[in-house]
């Protein structure tokens, strides 16, 4: 069986929906925000009331085109909006304004960290739907359904990849790379748990080396990168098994059930849907000036992969370190500011990838929401380097910086964490320790090297960790040597 399975390969294409972080909605002036009280961010236009008309949000077009430019897409000089007609209660007009045959961008590529390029088919602009909230969680079982239209009309771009992704892990890599680019150009919050980044996958399996695609299933309802990987693993396994048994894969939409760890057929009539696309007569076609496109291009920031390579080059980081630090712009900016302020780039990277990361996780914060500032990290590193505080004390200060921020020197002062590096003071402590631990002194002199560490430990304990441990060790050796 295992051998049979090796004869198959998966082909994955991803459709990523990204809510654009514009001030207002796609076709009206309502505020575009997450988490407001239901139905407070609505107006006659996004509620699709009679006689109302949509007006294109230029900023949304700009954001999409900038995404396209960052991903090497061709920007259409002429583009239009179409209506996608179907009845669903979360859609106020019972049609969605989307783009059918003339998307704003075509082609393009998402370069993965591994170096593999995944080509894009298109990126188009549309409006998001509202949100159905079923009493009891499931539509079928619920007594009633409430609809929140705050999300209805939020600008949504759909990034469609070519079917070129070979594994669940590669799909994750693709999403990480895409998210990095989007966060860099600042067009979206890219928060999967808030739904500002959503992902559907077209998955098919075929005999290894075949050129034709197998029958695909569309997998939906994956709410995290982890669930994307799990869902794809399950679905590939499922399809491979079917094919290995000589059975057929049915073209259908399947939902991922995160709790049960399976995909299941939605048995929806979606395949039979005829969306009756036609150009939206309420909107005029868009023509985008080449000069405007060039202006947008110049506004693009340095992109993640370029930044990664530069961090390696300029700061001597490993590709791994640089890769993680450049995943989002805030982290990369933090790193560069701290590295410039301290000129200890490697130390900055170590702190950021080690303790700061740990403290952020512990306190459920991100660099954006944490109190620590790059200059504070630089200062902290300087305090350690100058021997002003011990490495252990530094961790304590670091956690405080993450949660509360502040001047590291002041924290050290206030908490009495300064390392005793004054040679007279240290020699006094050392002399006292020698006098008080004669047994260990004798043992050390007799050749038991470990005994020295015991005395060091006693000294650190007595000084409550504040004695400069390097100085202590050196002095002890000198006295006992």
């Amino acid at each position: 069986m295992i051998e049979t399975r090796l004869q198959f390969e998966a082909v994955i294409g991803l459709e990523v929906h990204v809510e654009l972080a514009t001030q207002s909605k796609m076709f009206c002036g309502c505020r575009n925000a997450f988490g407001a009280k239901p139905n407070t961010l609505t107006c006659p236009v996004c509620l699709g009331m009679p006689g109302t008309l949509p007006v294109i949000n230029r900023r949304a077009v700009e954001y999409l085109c900038k995404t396209g430019l960052a991903l090497d897409c061709a920007i259409a000089q002429f583009s239009k909006f179409d209506r996608k007609n179907y009845f669903y209660p979360d859609m106020p007009k019972n049609y969605q304004i989307s783009q059918y045959d003339m998307p704003l961008t075509t082609g393009g590529v998402v370069p993965l960290a591994s170096g593999k390029p995944v080509r894009l088919n298109r990126i188009h602009l549309e409006e998001d739907t509202g949100k159905n909230i079923h009493a009891g969680g499931h539509m079928a079982a619920s007594e009633y359904t409430l609809i929140d239209y705050n999300r209805a009309g939020v600008p949504l771009m759909e990034i469609v990849s070519e079917p070129e992704i070979a594994s669940p892990e590669e799909a994750e890599e693709y999403l990480v790379a895409l998210k990095a680019v989007l966060s860099y150009i600042g067009v979206s919050d890219v928060k999967m748990h808030e739904g500002s980044l959503r992902c559907d996958a077209n998955v098919s399996v075929r005999p290894r080396g075949a050129t034709e695609l197998g029958t695909k299933a569309e997998v939906k309802n994956m709410n995290s990168f982890r669930s994307v990987v799990r869902a794809l693993r399950f679905e590939i396994e499922r399809q491979t098994e079917l094919l290995a048994l000589g059975e057929r894969v049915i073209q259908e939409t399947r939902n991922w059930d995160d709790t049960r760890g399976i995909t299941y057929s939605t048995r929806s009539k979606e395949q039979a849907h005829d969306y009756r696309y036609f150009p939206d007569p309420d909107l005029v076609p868009m023509t985008i000036d080449a000069q405007v496109i060039e202006a947008w291009r110049t506004e693009l920031p340095e992109l993640p992969l370029a930044k990664r390579d530069r961090l390696v080059r300029e700061y001597g980081l490993s590709e791994y370190e640089a890769g993680i630090l450049s995943e989002d712009r805030a982290t990369a900016d933090f790193f560069e500011q701290a590295a410039r302020a301290s000129s200890e780039a490697k130390q900055v990277a170590n702190w950021m990838l080690g303790d700061i990361r740990r403290f952020l996780e512990k306190h459920e914060k991100t660099l954006a929401t944490a109190a620590i500032k790059p200059e504070q990290l630089a200062e902290l590193i300087a305090l350690v380097k100058s021997g002003h505080i011990s490495g252990k004390a530094a961790k304590e200060v670091c956690e405080l910086l993450v949660t509360e921020g502040g001047d590291p020197r002041a924290i050290v002062q206030a908490r009495g964490l300064a390392q005793v590096s004054d040679s007279a003071a240290v020699s006094q402590i050392v002399d006292e320790a020698i006098a008080g631990n004669q047994e260990s002194v004798t043992a050390y002199k007799a050749g038991k090297a470990k005994a020295l560490e015991f005395i060091v430990g006693q000294i650190m304990k007595a000084s409550r960790g504040k004695a400069n441990v390097d100085m202590v060790r050196a002095l002890l050796k000198e006295r006992l040597g």
Partner: protein
């Protein structure tokens, strides 16, 4: 003989303080109410709202504000087709599905009219969702023709045409998708103007076919039409299809002769009306002769694709309406039929009960025309023919300044005469649909009578040449005064 005052006559009287706005509004309300049993032109009358506003206006005039500073239509009573949203007031679009709908906003043109001082006295009856040519498709009741109450006022803006024709108000707003201003204007002996597509904002005007719908004035004479269009026209940032070009001074373009003007006579249209109705053909021949007498040169022009207008229109308009009307599902506003079952059952029952037959017919037609496998053969093909029709007009206007042609193929017909034959009803728009498809301005102006029933003459001009079109129609109107020659019979009836 003059059956009622025009807006400019009322306006002059208000300026001279011979008439208060309140008096003008009371007279309009009195007339509308007195004629209502015979005409049924209104779905909603708004007497309190109108009186309040008239009083506010009179107070301002009393405080010393000049009537001019209060706007071009200060104190003038107007009626508004029930397709235009009016904040807080019932706006039904002639449909049961919006039978209880009160929008929290007003249409842009309504706001503009009110900002110019006009006083809205009521919302007029119409064919449901503007689909019809007789006003018999209203979900509530048919409206009748003031010249013969056994006959229809035309449609879909039948209520507006009827109340202006009867002299209750000097101005009403209508909308025209394939002839819904011009045909009822012809039937009710008034002026009806369909502006260039994009000249007037569609915001707040309930959509039937978005690429064709335009709002326009229905008035007793061309001067009032010019004044009203002046108020209505212009770019609206709420409507991306409204065009941002300057609005010329229409009143300044009104002329009294046609020296040097080339008027195109459409060969295909003359052949058609000549074959179908000698009396009608004769009336239009006399109208063209009048134009010549005024100094115009008649030029023969051709619209070879106009014969496909009706077929083209009945693919494009239903296609758009099938999508535009999808929002009426009972979930958010309007009528809801929710007896049992899931939300989709609610949608079905609501739409089944809420829409009338003609609306359902067009939704089905349009859904079919947009369906996979048929889209190219129907919708795309229709759009191509639309382009050819537009090109026909471009070619015609290379030879003439404006086109004169029939507005309708017959005088107003009797109620029920065409209700069993949808295609016969569709044919009523034969002469008006090509201009709608081309997006160009066109109007109907009274041109005489056949069997004492009014008939209108249509003028059409190149896009955004409303000034030219109104000027030519004004010269014709001032030379002929057809509207004043026969009084609406309903007035004689009311007097008795």
């Amino acid at each position: 003989m003059k059956i009622a005052k025009t807006a400019h006559e009322l306006s002059d009287a208000i300026r001279r303080k011979e008439l208060s706005s309140r008096e003008a509004v009371e007279a309009a309300l009195d007339s509308a109410q007195a004629l209502d049993p015979s005409l049924r032109a209104y779905i909603t009358l708004l007497p309190e709202r109108a009186r309040d506003r008239a009083k506010q206006l009179d107070d301002r005039i009393a405080r010393g504000d000049s009537a001019d500073s209060l706007g071009a239509l200060a104190g003038i009573p107007v009626a508004v087709k029930d397709i235009f949203c009016l904040e807080g007031e019932l706006t039904t679009c002639g449909s049961r599905i919006l039978g209880n709908f009160r929008p929290p906003y007003s249409a842009t043109v309504v706001n503009k009219l009110e900002a110019a001082g006009a006083i809205i006295i009521g919302k007029t009856n119409m064919d449901e969702f503007a689909m019809g040519s007789s006003c018999e498709n209203s979900a509530f009741f048919p409206t009748r023709n003031p010249y013969d109450v056994t006959r229809v006022p035309g449609g879909s803006s039948g209520g507006s045409a009827s109340t202006v024709g009867a002299g209750s108000v000097p101005i009403a707003l209508g909308t025209d998708t394939g002839g819904s201003i011009r045909e009822p204007a012809s039937f009710c002996n008034i002026v009806g103007v369909k502006p260039t597509y994009g000249r007037v904002s569609r915001y707040g005007m309930i959509a039937f076919a978005s690429s064709l719908d335009q709002a326009g004035p229905m008035t007793r004479d061309i001067r009032d039409a010019a004044t009203t269009l002046q108020v209505m026209a212009g770019h609206d940032e709420m409507d991306s299809t409204s065009v941002d070009t300057p609005v010329p001074n229409y009143a300044a373009a009104l002329r009294t002769d046609l020296a040097g003007v080339r008027i195109g006579i459409v060969t295909e249209f003359e052949d058609s009306i000549g074959r179908s109705d000698a009396a009608m053909a004769g009336l239009y021949k006399r109208a063209y002769a009048d134009l010549e007498r005024l100094g115009a040169t008649l030029v023969e022009v051709h619209l070879p694709h106009a014969q496909y207008g009706l077929a083209t229109y009945y693919l494009i308009a239903p296609a758009e309406c099938s999508s535009n009307l999808a929002r009426y599902d009972g979930a958010r506003y309007g009528c809801r039929v929710n007896e049992s079952g899931d939300v989709f059952t609610m949608f079905e029952h609501t739409r089944e009960a809420g829409f009338g037959d003609e609306v359902k017919r067009r939704i089905i037609l349009g859904t079919y025309a947009l369906s996979a496998g048929y889209y190219d053969a129907y919708y795309v093909r229709a759009q191509k023919v639309r382009t050819l029709i537009k090109r026909d007009f471009d070619n015609a206007f290379a030879q003439c300044d404006a086109i004169a042609c029939p507005a309708v193929s017959c005088p107003p017909f009797e109620l029920g005469a065409k209700t069993q034959d949808p295609v016969a009803m569709y044919l009523m728009d034969y002469f008006t649909i090509p201009m709608s498809l081309a997006g160009i301005p066109a109007l109907s102006v009274p041109a005489g009578y056949v069997n004492e029933l009014p008939v209108g003459l249509q003028f059409a001009a190149p896009a955004f040449e409303e000034a030219r079109m109104l000027g030519i129609a004004h010269a014709y109107e001032q030379a002929t005064h057809h509207a004043d020659q026969v009084a609406p019979k309903v007035l004689a009836g009311a007097a008795r």
